[in-house]
Symmetry: C2
Subunit: 131 residues, 2 copies
């Protein structure tokens, strides 16, 4: 049905598309070694991005932005639906920006956030059991 | 290019494929309301699954399993590549099992873990900017 889960890193955020082999020097008799396993460094980067998504408020904020035109939303719109103050929402958004999942642009008084579609697609691809 | 990010929940783990609307009673003048935004409950469930992936060791464990035949691996194989004790690896695997991303089967002395492909695909779909 599915091909093997790729766990392959995307092209954004300094990650490469190369899978690094892990070659254990000692193997338990019952098992065979993996031929292609994600590197420790790439695993760190993926985990960092998943951590940014590991909060229900941030998931809702992403969903709110995704439902706006061009997947872009003003901070002034985001505060009310999640029922939090603007500083708190800004803090959540900062974590999403730092993880590379959203970009931020200041326009006059307001900050606007846009989904980083390529980064989100790469993250999704890393856990997609390919057909 | 991409359709809007779906943030839609998959069919596993008690999540539904229905997107619930959020209709704020008060709107900031500069912005328009979202028509389809993930519910608080679904956001909680997605965040819980992302949290299970928010650890580099667990990402590597998933990658190791993905590289085994039929995406299934014996616990005895998983310990050495990640350089951790069996109890520690079992603890990480328990978190992946509880998040519904992996299934566990005891066969005699050893526990075997298999990727929950449908759950992983649903999670990936939730953050995929659809074409």
């Amino acid at each position: 049905m599915y091909r093997r889960l790729s766990m392959r890193c995307g092209r954004l955020g300094g990650m490469t598309s190369t899978q690094l082999p892990i070659a254990p020097t000692e193997l338990v008799a019952c098992c065979t070694p993996a031929s292609e396993v994600i590197s420790a460094e790439d695993a760190e980067q993926l985990a960092r991005r998943f951590k940014a998504l590991a909060d229900p408020t941030r998931v809702r904020l992403l969903s709110l932005i995704a439902n706006e035109q061009d997947s872009e939303a003003c901070i002034c719109y985001l505060t009310h639906p999640v029922g939090l103050s603007q500083p708190t929402v800004s803090h959540h958004m900062k974590q999403l920006v730092e993880a590379g999942l959203v970009t931020r642009e200041q326009r006059g008084k307001w900050a606007y956030y846009r989904l980083a579609n390529d980064a989100l697609a790469a993250l999704a691809a890393a856990i997609t059991p390919a057909a």
